[in-house]
């Protein structure tokens, strides 16, 4: 037990000055604090992906020298990626596979080869066009690949549900 030895008695008359602190309630309190903190802690971290919605606002102002990327879902596991400059298609790739994860891996490697364009600051924005049969989770996964490649000015093209 914790104790503080203040001074020993030399003669039998004086009382011992050893003061003892009872640590048991203190340990109980600390244990309860730890349990409370662990139980009330938020273990799942929620983050955010910023999207600039250019339709109806002046968010995307492009110059004639800058490129625009267009990522269009043509199916549940098929995407069409194109780079445009002044409205003209400069590069175009069609990616298709049995699973979207494989398509996204191809997409990642494809846009890595184009990275000098946005590293030079020549990419104004990347617009993603969803499709009816593509779940929202897959759309976010595509945006995640773009953000992973330092493309941050992202937009989503509104498409008709019908």
């Amino acid at each position: 037990m914790a104790s503080a030895n203040i001074g020993a008695s030399q003669k039998g008359r004086k009382k011992a000055l050893d003061a003892e602190v009872n640590l048991v309630p203190f340990i109980d309190l600390l244990s309860m604090c730890i349990c409370f903190l662990l139980m009330t802690a938020v273990w799942i971290q929620i983050g955010a992906m910023q999207i600039k919605q250019s339709h109806g606002t002046d968010a995307a102002q492009t110059s004639s020298k800058s490129y625009e990327m267009s990522v269009q879902f043509s199916g549940a596991s098929a995407i069409q990626v194109s780079l445009k400059r002044s409205g003209k298609v400069v590069k175009k790739v069609d990616l298709k596979d049995s699973e979207l994860s494989k398509v996204l891996a191809q997409f990642d490697s494809t846009i890595k080869t184009w990275s000098p364009i946005w590293k030079a600051g020549l990419l104004s924005s990347a617009m993603v066009t969803p499709a009816k049969d593509v779940p929202y989770g897959d759309l976010v996964a595509t945006l995640d690949v773009l953000r992973k490649n330092q493309i941050v000015n992202l937009g989503i093209v509104p498409v008709s549900v019908r």
Partner: protein, 175 residues
């Protein structure tokens, strides 16, 4: 003492007593085991301080609406305090309040736009002189068709909400 013990005669009474005493000592062992509580208290205190610092620094800004499972992403950044628009299978919610069914609101978006405008006006009243940035947190169930989410997102710029933050699980690094 041992030296003295060796010098004694093997059959002497003193040696016999010493041997008996030694025997007794070897049989009896201490029953009370001492536990160092100080180091345990130190460890507990450090653990409490660590947990307090870890969890108190990141307040929960977003309450995930019932029936919404957010998609996961690795590039998510820190959430900002803004109105929360939720799209679930049950309908569209604005700050946890049901605005209407998704298919109905996609055809007639007026109730949603009115509520968004009211929120913007309230913000402008509470922040006089400040420019409205138009930030909104959007949380949608991951299995909902992306075209539905895109259509809802398309309505937001008309109410001057141009900076949309898609809520995702994971990430939350401060960029």
């Amino acid at each position: 003492m041992n030296c003295g013990e060796n010098t004694l005669h093997p059959k002497s009474f003193t040696r016999h007593l010493l041997a008996r005493n030694h025997k007794k000592k070897s049989y009896k062992r201490a029953v009370v085991v001492g536990l160092m509580l100080t180091s345990m208290v130190d460890m507990f205190s450090l653990l409490v301080i660590f947990l307090l610092q870890t969890f108190a620094a990141s307040p929960e800004l977003l309450i995930v609406t019932k029936g919404v499972t957010l998609p996961t992403a690795i590039t998510g950044r820190e959430l900002k305090d803004a109105p929360v628009l939720s799209i679930s299978n049950e309908g569209i919610f604005l700050d946890q309040k049901l605005v209407g069914k998704t298919d109905v609101l996609l055809k007639k978006p007026e109730p949603l736009i009115e509520k968004l405008d009211a929120l913007r006006e309230l913000w402008q009243k509470t922040h006089p002189g400040a420019t409205f940035v138009g930030e909104i947190n959007l949380q949608a169930h991951r299995d909902i068709a992306s075209s539905v989410v895109s259509q809802v997102m398309g309505m937001l710029p008309s109410s001057h909400y141009g900076s949309i933050q898609l809520a995702v699980y994971g990430g939350a690094s401060s960029e």
